[in-house]
């Protein structure tokens, strides 16, 4: 079975609010995973991560998160990243308030 290359997004937390944010090329941050730039190229992924890590006064804890690219935007693969993209399940807080 051919291995599908894993797509990635660059994600982090906003330094001031702590909110989960995603990189939107070339240098914007969005709170919505659906608007994040999907990266399929490894070099580009590393470049995106390096850019995020260079924004130490804007974001915290940047990392590459695996996603599946779908018609309405990327979807997280791991359930932890899914929760990060939606918010807690006990209240409609965080991104669910938008």
């Amino acid at each position: 079975m051919p291995v599908t290359p894993i797509s990635k997004v660059v994600t982090a937390n906003d330094l001031r609010s702590g909110e989960v944010i995603y990189l939107r090329f070339p240098h914007d941050w969005t709170p919505e995973l659906s608007k994040a730039s999907v990266i399929t190229d490894d070099d580009l992924a590393q470049a995106g991560l390096a850019f995020a890590q260079g924004q130490a006064n804007v974001v915290v804890g940047a990392y590459l998160s695996d996603v599946v690219a779908e018609a309405d935007g990327p979807k997280a693969i791991h359930f932890r990243d899914t929760f990060r993209s939606t918010g807690p399940s006990n209240y409609r807080h965080g991104k669910q308030e938008i």
């Binding site: 937390n13 330094l15 693969i77 807690p88 399940s89 006990n90």
Partner: protein, 553 residues
């Protein structure tokens, strides 16, 4: 309760000012995250899954109404209108913004509260029996000692960089409600030849390697307690491992070296440092004790109109489950459940906090407690006031009659909030409580402690639950392991893992099979789940959880 001295006020004010400057330097880029992180953690500020989280200490679980009102104000002004009471008598705010945290800390300082040492490898918030000072079964109020330990351990220069975090719990009652055997140090008040002292238990803890604490000394006289504790922590500080964080807690140190060697080293250290304690600690303890004089209990107002309430079945059900015997005749200890079925265990809204503060002022001698079981306690309520307290609680949606029952679930925040979690806890707790509410079986089932953790660190105390649930990740999905037969009481026990984990959709039906099966297995209606488990062992309960395996065999 304890009132801050000028020294305390100044110390906390200084820390707020320091942190304000640190946050400013982080925001202007003078401090990197690497530099800032230990500074924010020293002040209880974590970065979690969706936002920052501020953990505020409620020393030995004691609050007055003014403090509760202030917590409500903070929740409304800087958070999302609620707070989460934790299993270590702290309160957590889940949504503060970094730049607001210095103001929050100032608001806390204004009412003699802080978030110092609620994180990091230091001595954490000292916890105590939530019925302390009121329980009919206690020798004496353990909170003066807890306060002495808080003062000694706060900013203690030797103990700011321990191998790992260090948790101390204190009880004044032989009926352990403070889980002392699952703490790095557990202190149990005892008496010997008419003088008071403590049994010192060491090396208990849950987490990845759960262990029940061992008695280091069966009796340390009160006057030796602080130097003895200093000897224990100092021994651990030198001996504890720093090469592997999973082997750094004192439970591992004790396990690896043996209790006898630890005892030898502690005794030697104690002999060395005891002369350095000039008696100032005992003088301080005397001063502290004055702050913990019991309130002047007055005859309550005549019950009057409340009599009609007293006759309702709902009131009687609440009184039967949520009231505990008081040491003073005519008074009761009221446990207010934060576990309404479907709600998040341990959460209270700002309105509910204000209602509790008002009830404490009107009927509770201004006293409130937070239990490690994530409920709120009114430790001094006159029996005649119970109907009015109940009515006020009903108005605040706080009159759930389930203390000690299956829906009174301890649950950590899990992966809904916590960056360390491997699975969610809150939805599992919500679903179990809602399911048993629908079955209307809760009171038939009787006393049952169900505890849920969303990762191996075991903040939800699952190892010592009669039924414990541990949320893990297995093959990319949430998976829940069940342990049975744990006990957090005086004869604490670690539960036994029942078998393979259950998927998120399977865990509630599994618990239902287990409980319905128990109702058939028990000798009679008075035999609790734990008693039945102890009598019958794991096998019949395992068969309930894994019916397919039974068929296959």
């Amino acid at each position: 309760m304890y009132q801050y001295s000028n020294f305390d006020h100044e110390f906390v004010a200084q820390r707020v000012a320091q942190f304000r400057a640190q946050v400013a330097r982080r925001l202007d880029g003078s401090l990197s995250e690497e530099e800032f992180k230990p500074l924010r953690l020293m002040n209880g500020l974590y970065l979690q899954l969706h936002a920052y989280m501020l953990r505020v200490a409620i020393p030995y679980g004691t609050l007055n109404s003014r403090q509760m009102d202030q917590i409500a104000m903070i929740a409304e002004r800087w958070d999302k209108g609620y707070g989460h009471f934790t299993t270590r008598q702290n309160i957590q705010f889940n949504w503060p913004k970094l730049e607001d945290v210095p103001d929050i800390l100032q608001a806390l300082a204004d009412v003699e509260m802080h978030a110092i040492q609620t994180s990091g490898n230091t001595i954490r918030n000292v916890t105590a029996d939530h019925f302390a000072g009121a329980a009919a079964d206690e020798i004496a109020d353990p909170r003066p000692i807890a306060e002495l330990i808080r003062q000694w351990s706060t900013d203690h220069p030797e103990f700011q960089f321990l191998p790992r975090k260090f948790k101390i719990a204190v009880t004044g009652s032989p009926h352990d409600r403070a889980v002392t055997q699952a703490h790095d140090i557990g202190l149990r008040m005892t008496e010997q030849n008419g003088s008071r002292g403590f049994e010192v238990i060491v090396g208990g803890g849950l987490g990845r390697t759960p262990m029940i604490g061992k008695t280091l000394s069966p009796f340390v006289p009160l006057e030796d307690l602080l130097p003895y504790l200093e000897a224990v922590v100092s021994t651990y500080n030198l001996l504890g491992r720093r090469d592997n964080k999973y082997k750094a807690r004192i439970k591992i140190t004790t396990h690896e070296h043996g209790i006898d060697e630890i005892k030898q080293r502690v005794d030697a250290q104690f002999t060395k440092i005891k002369p350095l304690f000039s008696g100032a600690d005992l003088q301080l303890l005397k001063d502290i004790e004055r702050h913990f004089e019991p309130p002047k209990l007055k005859p309550a107002a005549p019950a009057g109109t409340a009599q009609t309430v007293a006759q309702t079945p709902a009131f009687r059900a609440w009184r039967d489950t949520n009231i505990t015997a008081h040491k003073v005749p005519g008074y009761a200890i009221v446990s207010v459940s934060l576990k309404k079925p479907g709600a998040t265990p341990g959460d209270a809204t700002a309105e509910q906090m204000r209602a509790l503060a008002q009830i404490a002022r009107n009927f509770g001698h201004d006293a409130l407690r937070i239990s490690h079981e994530q409920n709120v306690i009114l430790p001094y309520v006159h029996l005649a006031d119970l109907p009015q307290v109940y009515q006020a609680l009903c108005r605040a949606d706080l009159a759930t009659a389930n203390i000690g029952l299956i829906s009174d679930i301890i649950a950590c925040p899990g992966m809904d909030y916590c960056a360390l979690a491997t699975a969610r806890s809150i939805p599992v707790a919500q679903q179990i409580a809602t399911r048993f509410e629908a079955l209307k079986l809760e009171h038939d089932i009787g006393p049952l402690k169900l505890k849920i953790s969303g990762c191996i660190n075991a903040c939800g105390h699952h190892h010592v639950g009669h039924i414990g649930i541990l949320g893990l990740e297995k093959a990319g999905v949430e998976s829940y392991q069940i342990t049975l037969g744990g006990d957090a009481g005086a004869e604490a026990q670690i539960g036994t893992r029942a078998g393979p984990g259950f998927g998120a959709n399977e865990i509630v039906p599994a618990i239902e099979r287990l409980i319905l099966g128990y109702l058939h297995l028990r000798a009679d209606e008075t035999e609790s789940f734990l008693e039945a488990y102890r009598r019958l062992g794991l096998a019949p309960f395992k068969a309930l959880l894994y019916p397919q395996e039974k068929k296959a065999a």
